[in-house]
């Protein structure tokens, strides 16, 4: 009846399933619906210049030497480096965390860090510069392998992040020194910013093309790329050798669901565990069902109204000042955001720590003052165009309509012109006057925001909307100065110029992002776009 072979095999068969069960990964796999995974169809931090990329990149996939406290106040914390110290005004020494494994199993060493900041991966043929002067650097640029040429925007972005980085010196296997061409107190901040993350040198070299690598970067994060279908989905799986402890999730699947209603329906039907990018007006409807809750709040991004001071009606700064005083910002926060965001203290964030000016305020809401300024400027109701995108920002259209009415109450004749894309918004022509924008702070210093966005190399000046000689002089001082008191004074003066005296922009409110989820999932949202799924931030 039973063959000898079958009898011999039987005990083994009885044992095998139990063994398999014991080894089965019982950690949950989750699905997250997002509006967009990556605008550039890559997972390369230097190419993806959008906020949406941060959700996927930060804390899950990419990691830098200096990290951020994603669940706290975003202050800098040890990341792939355990310690760092100043060697001079222009150099920082970094001690690497030992035993960190890349997704391909290799140990991270100083060589990988040097490669991450190399010309081959980061800077291409661009040259470092400081204060308008090109810095000669000995390192030559080897001709890239066919297919490994960097997209031209990557070196440009890298140079913006590290304008004067001269070289990265290997001291030993776990110690490096970053040498800058000029004194720079923000080097530590730059090490913590997006774009300064570390990657495996071997993985880059083994990839057939740059695009192949950029779609499956090998990094040190708690999750690694299993599958990426641009415009569709990204599947991350646990990197069990992660230095920060075994990740709590077996798999995270990000799916692109462009429609808000579809994201919410998918959450309610159980297709998704999380639905991101929820507009504030949808929150009460979702939370009406006790099974769901919406988390999130303010992020490191402020909404602004920008002015083109070359427009005939806006040349007189008093007219722009009138704009800033005619806005009841708190009314916008209360009515359109249900009080879930705040009016910040100008273009700055508390995480600037020593550089944060706690006593600074946005221009007060004062209609009488706005009317007085317009009278003095001799403004006679000339139409002022307001180029507007269709809800590129949350609540953008509604905010614009409210703003136009507030400005009208002060006597300003602002007329909305709907535009389809940023190119149309920024187009240099006599009808460019008022537009929307938002500014982030990639690291904890005003250089990352005020200088970067409104200084001499910032977008506003580069597109010819605004310039100010004193502002440009102070930008250099802020970038290269090392005395904190003097830098604080320079920063205050720059805020006075760009927000009060000769307004380049006016801050409306802090931006916020909201994520809906099932209430029983114990997970905390970060005050940023990043979603943290590391050990300690998951439970059911």
């Amino acid at each position: 009846m039973f063959s000898r072979r079958a009898i011999l095999a039987a005990p083994g068969l009885a044992v095998l399933p139990r063994f398999a069960v014991a080894q089965a990964d019982v950690r949950p796999a989750i699905t997250i619906a997002v509006q967009k995974i990556s605008n550039t169809n890559t997972l390369e931090v230097l190419r993806e210049q959008s906020n949406v990329g941060e959700r996927v990149f930060s804390s899950s996939l990419w990691e830098g030497l200096i990290g951020r406290d994603w669940l706290g106040d975003l202050r800098t914390v040890p990341g792939l480096a355990t310690a760092w110290r100043r060697v001079s005004d222009s150099a920082v020494e970094v001690s690497l965390r030992q035993g960190v494994r890349f997704h391909n199993g290799d140990e991270m060493t100083a060589e990988d860090v040097v490669f991450s900041f190399s010309r081959e991966r980061m800077f291409g043929t661009t040259l470092a510069s400081a204060q308008g002067r090109t810095i000669p650097i000995g390192e030559g640029m080897p001709a890239p392998r066919p297919g490994k040429e960097l997209p031209p925007e990557v070196p440009a972005v890298a140079r913006r992040a590290w304008p004067a980085l001269e070289r990265v010196e290997v001291v030993d296997r776990y110690t490096l020194r970053f040498h800058n061409a000029t004194p720079d107190v923000t080097l530590e901040g730059r090490l913590s910013r997006n774009g300064s993350e570390i990657m495996s040198r071997r993985a880059f070299e083994e990839a057939a093309t740059w695009l192949d690598w950029a779609r499956r970067p090998v990094t040190t994060g708690p999750y690694k790329v299993a599958e990426f279908r641009p415009d569709q989905m990204l599947v991350l799986v646990a990197h069990d050798e992660y230095w920060g402890g075994r990740p709590p999730l077996r798999q995270i699947r990000f799916v692109e669901v462009p429609e808000v209603a579809s994201r919410i329906n998918g959450l309610r039907s159980g297709d998704f565990h999380f639905a991101c990018d929820i507009p504030p007006d949808q929150i009460p409807g979702i939370e009406r069902d006790r099974a769901f809750e919406v988390q999130g709040g303010t992020i490191l991004n402020h909404r602004l109204t920008c002015f083109d001071k070359t427009h005939a009606a806006l040349r007189d700064p008093r007219v722009r000042r009138a704009f800033t005083h005619a806005i009841d910002r708190q009314a916008i926060v209360d009515s359109l955001w249900a009080g879930r965001t705040v009016v910040p203290k100008g273009l700055q964030w508390p995480y600037y720590e020593g550089m944060f000016l706690a006593d600074w305020e946005v221009p007060r809401f004062d209609l009488a003052e706005a009317r007085r300024l317009l009278r003095e400027a001799g403004y006679k109701g000339e139409p002022i165009p307001y180029r507007l995108l269709n809800n590129y920002y949350t609540n953008q259209n509604a905010t614009a309509q409210v703003l136009v009415e507030m400005w009208r109450a002060a006597g300003l004749n602002v007329q909305i012109e709907m535009k389809e894309n940023w190119s149309q918004i920024l187009e240099r022509s006599p009808t460019r006057a008022v537009r929307d924008w938002s500014n982030s702070a990639p690291f904890n210093d005003p250089v990352s925001s005020l200088v970067n966005q409104h200084g001499p190399n910032g977008q506003q000046q580069q597109v010819g909307e605004w310039t100010n000689e004193e502002m440009n002089r102070l930008s250099v001082e802020l970038e290269t100065g090392t005395d904190r008191a003097r830098r604080r004074a320079a920063f205050r003066r720059m805020l006075e110029i760009s927000e009060r005296e000769d307004p380049a922009y006016t801050v409306l409110h802090q931006n916020a992002t909201f994520t809906a989820k099932r209430r029983e999932i114990r997970w905390k949202a970060s005050p940023a776009f990043a979603m943290d799924f590391r050990q300690g931030n998951w439970g059911v």
Partner: protein
């Protein structure tokens, strides 16, 4: 016949050239792909570098001739977002779209034509009124509203079907229904009108008066004559198989050609947009050609028209 085909093909080629040229000019004049793809926060020097790398800093006419020359040599260009060949990006999305639009076409035909015929044969009955009520409703409700209603009912309330995505055949049911119901409503209305017109013709009365059974009158005389306007509509539906599901693909997060087109237009990813347009134009032109040929099969009088015209 050959002359007929030659002129049809010539007209098709001119149509495609016009579509491609129009799209080029409109897309280029309405936005700078570099600024759009790089985003509002990209450093100006990165935008400039992108522009130079893709030749966007060249005069528009030069870009146009360069692009057109490449097309004539069989190079449809590369995606500016992706760096990959545009044709590959488009071709890999076609199966997903056809997986929706072909079954949806079957629903349209299988539901719309019988419903229209039935309503016409039972004119002014409660069944006719019910069919037309549903047809008008199906015709007027936008597909994104219908899609969301179906999701609310079958995914959220009943939990029978997934709300979106493309993981299994079950994910395709709601988008297929959304596409199919709207099209079936259109077909039902056209078929009913065509049938009513034919049923009022003297030859139908004559056939009935001769004692031909009613069923034979309908099958032998009414349906073939009513088929011509219906075939025209079906031709349009076949022509829109490739890019006729733009809205539905967005609502259901279905990764087909429609979603690719939306994203490519939004980013001014010209090579991809042009590639889709070429494909759509070619499909539409082919469908129209087939419809023209079908006319001749359905109505022998139309076959002789060119010759008759030439004789005058």
């Amino acid at each position: 016949m050959l002359r007929f085909l030659f002129f049809r093909l010539l007209r098709a080629a001119v149509t495609i050239v016009m579509v491609v040229s129009f799209a080029f000019v409109v897309l280029r004049l309405s936005g700078d792909p570099a600024q759009i793809i790089m985003g509002a926060d990209a450093p100006p020097e990165a935008v400039d570098a992108f522009r130079a790398a893709w030749g966007l800093d060249q005069p528009l006419w030069r870009q146009y001739f360069h692009y057109f020359g490449a097309i004539l040599s069989g190079d449809l260009g590369r995606s500016m977002r992706d760096g990959r060949d545009a044709i590959l990006l488009v071709v890999e999305r076609i199966p997903a779209t056809l997986a929706l639009t072909l079954p949806a076409l079957a629903i349209k035909l299988g539901l719309g034509i019988p419903a229209g015929v039935y309503a016409a044969l039972h004119r002014n009955s409660w069944a006719d009124r019910l069919v037309m009520l549903l047809a008008v409703a199906g015709f007027t409700v936008p597909s994104f509203v219908l899609g969301l209603l179906l999701v609310l009912l079958f995914a959220v309330q009943l939990g029978w079907l997934p709300s979106g995505g493309q993981e299994s055949w079950r994910h395709g049911i709601l988008p297929m229904l959304t596409l199919g119901i709207g099209g079936a409503a259109v077909l039902a209305r056209f078929t009913r009108s065509a049938m009513l017109e034919v049923l009022g013709q003297p030859y139908i009365r004559t056939a009935s008066a001769k004692g031909v059974p009613w069923r034979a009158v309908v099958w032998g005389h009414a349906l073939p004559n009513a088929a011509i306007p219906t075939v025209t509509i079906v031709g349009f539906m076949v022509g829109s198989l490739i890019a006729g599901a733009v809205v539905v693909e967005s609502v259901f997060s279905w990764p087909g050609v429609g979603r690719l087109l939306v994203v490519a237009v939004a980013n001014r990813d010209l090579a991809v947009v042009q590639c889709v347009l070429l494909l759509v134009a070619a499909t539409m032109v082919t469908a129209n050609l087939v419809v023209d040929l079908l006319y001749g099969l359905l109505d022998p009088r139309l076959r002789n028209q060119p010759r008759a015209a030439g004789a005058h």
